[in-house]
């Protein structure tokens, strides 16, 4: 139904939406700009600008405890990512073939970590580990992270799986390939972009997590967000900003990479 005025450019602008959109965009980014900006403040008091300096970055990068926290975070995130992606891939395939009743139950279980307030999940896993006398620390955190990374890893994989043309399987089967070969040489490569996307998401989610890590941390098991939280509660210096900026950088890079991969797929 064509507008008599041409190809529909007349209603592109609702009153005020443009300016409000700009303001909201600003609102989304300006706080982060402040965080990054003040990280270069040479003054101890974060919000009172005294001069440009990289000393806080030097401070932060040479701090032993921070290095340990970073390594813990990376270790937890890596292992959680690998495990959750493996579980999620299996789940994606399994879900496609599940009967109705089982499917709904499975979905509820999978989506549960997203729906349950994270504090409940955190104390629940704490209670679980205490009950079975599993020591708190990096391993406990990894196990918990894997669980709530599964839904994040699953969604891109599942979306990818559902877009696969089923005739490919029939053709392969007709040509005599068995299940495992088909999985390895057809399904997996076809799923690869979804798996990569899922892995990147799981990685960021694990890296950025605070509350679960906070409750499950044990001796020497502090992760970076928990460490930053301690810094914020203790003494707010531009060091906190420097550390936050670095974490932001990692998240942005990962998201951008994920986005670029996704675009190539379309």
């Amino acid at each position: 139904m064509k507008s008599p005025r041409g190809t529909g450019t007349s209603l592109k602008n609702f009153p005020l939406f443009g300016p409000v959109a700009a303001i909201v965009f600003g609102f989304l980014y300006i706080p982060l700009v402040f965080v990054v900006g003040y990280s270069f403040n040479s003054n101890r008091v974060v919000t009172v600008w005294k001069g440009f300096s990289l000393e806080w970055y030097a401070d932060v990068l040479t701090n032993d405890d921070i290095q340990r926290a970073v390594i813990n975070s990376l270790r937890v995130a890596s292992i959680s990512t690998v495990l959750s992606v493996i579980f999620a891939t299996g789940l994606a395939i399994g879900l496609l073939r599940m009967a109705r009743a089982g499917k709904t139950a499975a979905w509820s279980l999978i989506m549960a970590p997203l729906v349950i307030p994270e504090i409940v999940f955190a104390i629940g896993t704490l209670a679980l580990f205490v009950q079975i006398r599993f020591p708190l620390g990096v391993d406990a955190i990894t196990l918990a992270h894997t669980a709530f990374c599964i839904p994040f890893a699953l969604l891109p994989i599942r979306a990818r799986l559902r877009s696969v043309d089923l005739t490919v399987y029939e053709a392969a089967a007709d040509l005599g390939a068995n299940e495992w070969v088909i999985f390895r040489r057809i399904t997996l490569p076809l799923l690869a972009p979804g798996i990569v996307a899922g892995a990147l998401l799981a990685f960021i989610i694990s890296l950025d997590d605070f509350i679960v890590s906070y409750f499950l941390a044990g001796a020497g098991g502090t992760t970076l967000p928990v460490y930053i939280f301690g810094m914020i509660r203790n003494a707010i210096t531009p060091g906190v900003n420097a550390l936050s900026t670095l974490l932001l950088l990692v998240s942005v890079v990962i998201v951008t990479v994920s986005y670029i991969i996704a675009r190539r797929r379309r």
Partner: protein, 386 residues
């Protein structure tokens, strides 16, 4: 053709990604990695440490690398001091923080008991001994045990020092800035006054025990009272006071008082001296109703992984020179003789650190409350924090 090429690309990407992830995990390894060259020594030493049996009685362990997991109050030990310990002994120190005795106890009991050295306050040491949470490492028999001050030897919570070694001692009083608040604060009653001149810029420790001790004193009762009437008055007092309280947080008090973010704060005396260094206007008050004289101690929890290193650390910290350096950083006096030689003159002359004679009677230790009293404390504190 195109589809095949894309598949290869993504396959390669996936392989690189997974390889990178595996490599990172391998870097993490078994032990947590500390900084510097000691990490290689640490990994091998940690292995041998776990395998070898406890040093025979009478023989004090010698440093052999490895790790030490230290659980301490936030900002309560000099980073430079720890670095010196690390270079002198080759032991890597992993430091985690807590903000109150109860937080530490909760974490330990929940299974985080793989800390090697913890820093409980006097009443908490008593509680932990009772709960069977501490190892009897007998610090008094350590080489440097001879330096424990006589008045710190047979303390109510650990007579003969078989479980704990003294670290710092201090008082919990009031810090305020008279130039901002006007008037003079000399009592807990004034601190908790609903119409206080500092209202809106008051801060307090996030510490059930300290706050309610003080509130009881302010209403004329004694800490650890089991009389319900007293607590009714305390509740009223706190309820009236709360609107003027800006922050309930034990961490970061120094920064907030130094910058003027708060103008009155319940504060530990040593932390006060550090804030005062940045903001000379600040004053420390010994309230007329009395204050808590607490002492913090090193102890080794049951379940510690590196007991030998724990002993080495505690012994090292009982050396007057080392604890003297610690005192200069945190601003408290300590329980080791001879350390006063290493204390800076400023600190030694500061009335907040060395209690002036006229206030000596006001500062008394408060042993842990009975279970009944703790219940009441819990109730009042929960309602206060609502």
């Amino acid at each position: 053709m195109k589809r095949w090429k894309n598949r290869r690309q993504s396959g390669i990407l996936l392989a690189i990604g997974l390889t990178g992830i595996m490599a990172l995990s391998a870097c993490g390894g078994e032990t947590t990695v500390g900084g510097g060259a000691s990490s290689a020594a640490a990994s091998s030493a940690a292995g041998s440490e776990a395998a070898s049996p406890e040093a025979p009685a009478g023989d004090f362990p010698t440093p052999n690398g490895g790790e030490l997991n230290l659980y301490n109050w936030t900002d309560y030990i000099s980073p430079d001091l720890l670095k010196r310990f690390e270079s002198e002994t080759g032991i890597t120190v992993n430091l985690d923080n807590f903000d109150s005795n109860e937080t530490m106890l909760a974490k330990l009991q929940a299974g985080g008991a793989n800390y090697d050295v913890i820093v409980p306050s006097d009443y908490m040491v008593a509680q932990m001994i009772e709960l069977g949470l501490l190892q009897e490492v007998d610090p008094a028999s350590f080489p440097n045990g001879q330096y424990i001050k006589p008045e710190f030897m047979d303390v109510y919570f650990d007579p003969g020092r078989t479980y704990s070694a003294p670290y710092m001692y201090g008082t919990t009083g009031i810090a305020y800035d008279p130039t901002k608040t006007g008037g003079e604060i000399t009592s807990w009653a004034a601190f908790f006054d609903a119409n206080s001149p500092a209202a809106g810029k008051i801060g307090t420790l996030n510490d059930q025990v300290e706050v309610i001790h003080a509130a009881l004193r302010a209403t004329g009762a004694q800490p650890c009272s089991t009389n319900r009437e007293d607590y009714v008055k305390v509740e009223e007092l706190l309820a009236g006071w709360k609107p003027g309280v800006a922050v309930i947080n034990s961490d970061g008090v120094i920064g907030r008082m130094a910058s003027g973010e708060q103008t009155m704060h319940m504060m530990w005396n040593g932390a006060f001296t550090r804030a005062q260094a940045d903001n000379p206007n600040l004053q420390y008050v010994y309230p007329a109703e009395g204050i808590t004289l607490w002492s913090d101690n090193f102890a080794v929890p049951v379940g510690a992984q590196n007991v030998d290193n724990a002993k080495i650390f505690i012994n090292w910290m009982m050396d007057p020179a080392n604890i003297g350096e610690a005192t200069n950083f945190v601003g408290y006096d300590n329980g080791i003789t001879g350390s006063s030689e290493f204390m800076t003159a400023d600190l030694g002359a500061n009335p907040a650190v060395v209690i002036p004679d006229e206030f000596k009677a006001l500062a008394t230790p408060v042993p842990g409350c009975s279970v009944e009293a703790i219940d009441l404390y819990d109730q009042v504190w929960t309602n206060f924090k609502k």
